[in-house]
């Protein structure tokens, strides 16, 4: 069954066509890669799906809910979590607090509960802390629980960001260039981590990546975007040989000659 269905998604920035008639059906448990040259509209697709932009046209259906008009936190509450191309952790909060706050959409209390420390507050806070502690252990971040993210190395920050998304216990995890800026060793770790997360949490994973080793190793299916349009999709093997993909990435041999 499709966990996420995108139909006819189109988005314009002013006159610029960023995404055009994008269709996608993401199956439960799948690992899908979204690739394409710079500026192809990959992150825009993510932003549209996660509710940060509202599309000019098209439908997005997530776990049976129409989410096109929802605000980002409402989409998140339905079980979608993502990371960002440029790390966006909350830098004046500790790693532990980062993991707690991302569970905001699961809070079982409001302002009154906060003030009067209601039963709902106490159970909810306990549950949040427990989840955060689990994530710390799972991602071996325990040692950094009380550090501020900005003081930690880049690879670690990426891991924390994935942890922050996982703390929401999402059904769909969207990773925006998780390997960007990593050294080869860190990339190997990342590949291992993502595969492991998928098995452990039974997640559906959708990732944008330029790093071909990551994409070819993890993804079961790949969608290629160029100028906002899907130009190819298939297994890593098919994509590797698709002439349109090679053309999109390397340019048209004829036009270079001309």
């Amino acid at each position: 069954m499709a966990i996420l269905e995108v139909r006819n998604l189109t988005h314009f920035f002013g006159g610029l066509r960023a995404v055009f008639k994008f269709d996608l059906a993401l199956q439960e448990g799948e690992v899908l890669g979204l690739i394409g040259p710079n500026g192809a509209g990959k992150t825009t697709v993510f932003n549209l799906v996660s509710g940060f932009y509202h599309p000019t046209e098209g439908d997005i259906c997530f776990r049976g809910n129409e989410i096109v008009r929802l605000r980002p936190h409402e989409v998140t509450a339905l079980g979608m979590a993502r990371t960002f191309q440029n790390i966006r952790l909350w830098n004046t909060l500790t790693v532990f607090e980062n993991l707690c706050i991302s569970q905001h959409s699961k809070l079982g209390y409001g302002i009154l509960g906060t003030i009067f420390r209601s039963r709902g507050f106490r159970t909810s806070e306990r549950c949040i802390r427990k989840t955060a502690e689990e994530i710390l252990d799972i991602l071996s971040l325990r040692h950094y629980a009380n550090e501020y993210p900005k003081n930690l190395p880049y690879g670690l920050q990426r891991r924390i960001e994935i942890g922050r998304a996982l703390a929401m216990r999402p059904h769909l995890l969207m990773l925006d260039e998780p390997a960007a800026g990593m050294n080869p060793g860190e990339v190997d770790q990342l590949i291992e981590l993502i595969t492991w997360i998928r098995d452990k949490f039974q997640l559906t994973i959708w990732l944008i990546e330029h790093h071909m080793r990551v994409v070819m190793n993890i993804c079961e299916r790949i969608v290629v975007l160029d100028f906002g349009e899907t130009i190819a999709q298939g297994t890593p093997e098919e994509i590797r040989q698709d002439p349109r993909v090679i053309q999109a990435y390397l340019g048209d041999a004829d036009s270079i000659d001309a």
Binding site: W90, N91, T92, F96, H104
Partner: protein, 341 residues
């Protein structure tokens, strides 16, 4: 036991002061300073919620204070005294000792509603533009009051002295001081509970990265609304108390200068530090009194102080940390066991 050590400490401190006042150990001037400290603590901690924890730049806190001051005062004068404008007392004058907290809270609630005027534009804009909106609200409140003749317009509003004296007629204890202690305790308690909860920390996430906060599940609009309303509501309560210390208020007390004073306190203590705000409110009240003989030069010296602070210690005295972080020993007394920092 540790869980309540700060409550106990504050309670006994208040009791000590009240006894001292009752037994005439403290002269009227010192009492006045202590009461202003209380009001300033409420103001600085509540502004810190918005300017420190949420990282917005509100420059019109005195406007909300004015709303609270006028609502509480007018309600009290209307309900409990015979007034030329508002007619005879609606309720027996003595009942004010029970109902004062209610009118105070009403002032806070109305101020919180005025806070919406700032909260709603803050959905779309932040930073410098929002600063202007808060400034405009400050001016709007002030000029609105100046134009309502029923409550005295620019001349001001009085009659709160009668309220205080009818409290004294029932039981002769320092009532205003008691309400101020209660209000200050309430305000610090409330903010502390808010900012230590996962819910309340949502506003810190908004400060650090609003977009990420929204995408990671924080309802940023609601958090902004809650923070602005909480902050302005508490400022309203501070205003209500302020009005009853003086027994007289006029729109001139709630200008941008007053807002600036509160801002100085917040930045002096450190943004995002509750204990810093309390300390700086106390310190600032004292400095203000020490500088009083300097008259005009006071208002050269205080800004200069803040400029030097910005230059040499821009994060303020404590800056995002609490006293318990600076002096870890305090933690043994004040932080309940088994709680992570």
């Amino acid at each position: 036991m540790r869980k309540y050590s700060s409550h106990l400490l504050y309670g006994s401190f208040c009791l000590l002061i009240l006894i001292a006042v009752q037994e005439n150990f403290l002269n009227a001037y010192l009492q006045l300073i202590i009461m202003f400290m209380g009001v300033n603590i409420i103001l600085s901690t509540s502004l810190n919620l918005v300017n420190g924890y949420m990282g917005e730049f509100s420059v019109g806190h005195a406007g909300f204070m004015a709303v609270g001051a006028y609502v509480t005062s007018v309600l009290n004068v209307w309900l409990f005294t015979s007034d030329r404008v508002f007619g005879p007392a609606v309720l027996p004058a003595g009942s004010v000792i029970y109902l004062f907290p209610v009118t105070l809270l009403m002032g806070g609630i109305v101020a919180a509603l005025v806070g919406l005027l700032v909260a709603i534009p803050s959905f779309k804009t932040r930073g410098d533009y929002l600063a202007i909106i808060t400034l405009a609200v400050n001016y709007i409140v002030k000029s609105a009051i100046e134009n309502i003749q029923v409550i005295g317009g620019a001349r001001g509003f009085m009659g709160m002295r009668n309220i205080v004296s009818s409290m004294h007629e029932v039981v002769n204890v320092p009532w205003v001081m008691i309400w101020i202690f209660a209000g200050t305790g309430f305000s610090v308690w409330l903010i502390h509970r808010f900012v230590t909860s996962t819910y309340g920390k949502g506003i810190v996430a908004v400060r650090d990265d609003e977009i990420a906060a929204n995408i990671m599940g924080v309802n940023t609009r609601r958090m902004k609304m809650v923070a602005f309303m909480l902050s302005s509501g508490l400022a309203g309560i501070a205003g209500g108390l302020f009005a009853h210390i003086l027994g007289y208020i006029n729109p001139g007390s709630f200008t941008i200068m007053k807002s600036t004073e509160v801002m100085v306190m917040v930045y002096l203590g450190g943004m995002g530090s509750l204990s810093g705000s309390v300390l700086s409110a106390v310190g600032f009240t004292i400095i203000l009194e020490l500088f009083r003989p300097l008259q005009v030069i006071k208002w050269v010296a205080i800004p200069l102080l803040l400029i030097l602070l910005m230059l040499f210690r821009p994060e303020g005295l404590l800056g995002h940390r609490e006293l318990t972080d600076v002096f870890p020993r305090l933690r043994r007394i004040f932080v309940p066991q088994g709680k992570r920092a």
